[in-house]
Symmetry: C2
Subunit: 277 residues, 2 copies
């Protein structure tokens, strides 16, 4: 039997969905259809959504699970009347927090993800463009401005990780691909000369060669580039280089981009320029 | 008086931080220092963190606020003993959910942000590379594979939004810059020919000309490109084009990348290829 969960917000829905998925992930044996409904910021939209919730309850034969972060009390009361099992985050926690902080909370709609200061915005845009300009070794003369330089073989996850660091945390991440040429030279296990002065900023990525071969195969099927032999050789040499040079590294095989990025931050202690909102 | 809040997790910390920031954003008049502590996944790390919390309580002269999503009961009990005002999300909501779903939850550590299926990973990587390959009008022959094509003048927020859509939702977003040439021609208010066949996929971005001038000034100070006149003219023409061609558009001036992206999804109804975890 499938249940339905609604993640409802008057803003982006990111918080409600993030929390909802975390909670429901603990129930592996229940099949749950998850629906995010952001920008429910008027009584009218709330009534429309309440009607959807009602018809879902009828169709499922079970009340839906409702996880919401709506701040406005009038809008929330409409959703409350819909049939559902309510996980009401704000009303559960805001009142005790008001007591602890000895103050009232401001019930402003969609407060969290508002753009904030201009500085934060500029930092974010600049970090994204830094990551793009310094992607894949395209440029190396800005490495002195980088917060971190990701190194690794082609398609081990450098680009998505650099972009995630930029977008979510305003971190300036360059990335440099260890190519066959670099790695051949490092048969003697030496760093590419261009990386040498920035050794303290390097962070290595590695990956299971089978996974790498599958990813490369999507790009260039049946090529030497995507062959198992080639992938094993490159990965082995890259890891040997990290160990020899004491470059911290992480195996991306079992990790999401979120995990790779937050683990790198935790391990290096780099400062975020801002925080996700 | 400054208070301290700790967002603590055995995984990435994304859920605890997202919820914590949402809750505390309702208390604008209290100064709160926010610290995220991810990967508290052993009793040893929990003890180290408990010591930090204790010394923070002494320094602040007030107990810290502790918002955690730790699943393991042994690790959580260590944090519980530290002095703090606890917002305990999982223990508050999991038990009622267990009753509602008539099943027990799996207390697996760091379950939510685990990488998931290979398909999801591939989709994500491919969407990021699609956004990069099709950034800034670099390529236009893949527009038939795009889920959405963002248009707008230079530096109005197209690139960060495309990348966010790719990273967070696996959406294939291309973006095309409306340059002076395009806009001059569209003095007659016509679409650039390359966009014509994909009209139904277009989404416009616009921006306050003053903000645009400030952003461009960071890139090329005191240039024609960053002059107020130029910015006013480009923005006015772009908006006239959107209206004439019935292209939906959004003003990015007051919005974060999260808001721009989730509003575009809500408005167009594009399907996400996966959901943030």
């Amino acid at each position: 039997m499938t249940r339905t969960a609604f993640f409802i917000s008057d803003g982006t829905g990111i918080t409600a969905e993030s929390l909802g998925r975390s909670l429901l992930a603990q129930f592996e044996n229940v099949e749950i259809r998850m629906i995010t409904k952001p920008y429910i910021d008027s009584v009218e939209k709330a009534h429309q959504l309440a009607a959807i919730i009602e018809s879902t309850a009828v169709k499922d034969g079970e009340q839906p699970i409702i996880i919401d972060t709506i701040v406005d009390s009038e809008i929330r009361s409409v959703i409350r009347e819909a049939p559902g099992f309510k996980v009401d985050i704000f009303s559960t926690f805001l009142e005790p927090l008001e007591q602890e902080l000895a103050t009232h909370s401001s019930y402003s709609v969609g407060r969290t993800h508002a753009i904030g200061s201009d500085d934060v915005y500029m930092d974010r845009i600049q970090s994204v463009h830094f990551a793009l300009d310094n992607d894949d070794g395209a440029r190396t003369h800005q490495y002195d401005q980088a917060d971190i330089i990701l190194v690794g073989v082609s398609r081990c996850g450098k680009t998505p990780s650099s972009l995630y660091l930029a977008l979510q945390f305003g971190i300036r991440a360059a990335n440099y691909p260890l190519t066959e040429d670099d790695l051949d030279e490092t048969g003697k296990l030496k760093l590419p000369p261009v990386l040498e002065p920035h050794r303290h900023k390097l962070f290595g990525l590695t990956i299971d060669p089978r996974r790498l071969a599958a990813i490369r195969h999507e790009r260039r099927p049946n090529s030497r580039y995507s062959s198992m032999d080639q992938c094993v050789q490159e990965v082995t040499q890259a890891e040997a280089l990290y160990r020899r040079m004491h470059i911290p590294f992480i195996d991306t095989t079992r990790f999401s981009v979120e995990e790779i990025s937050t683990r790198m931050i935790a391990e290096t202690g780099i400062n975020r320029r801002f925080s996700p909102r």
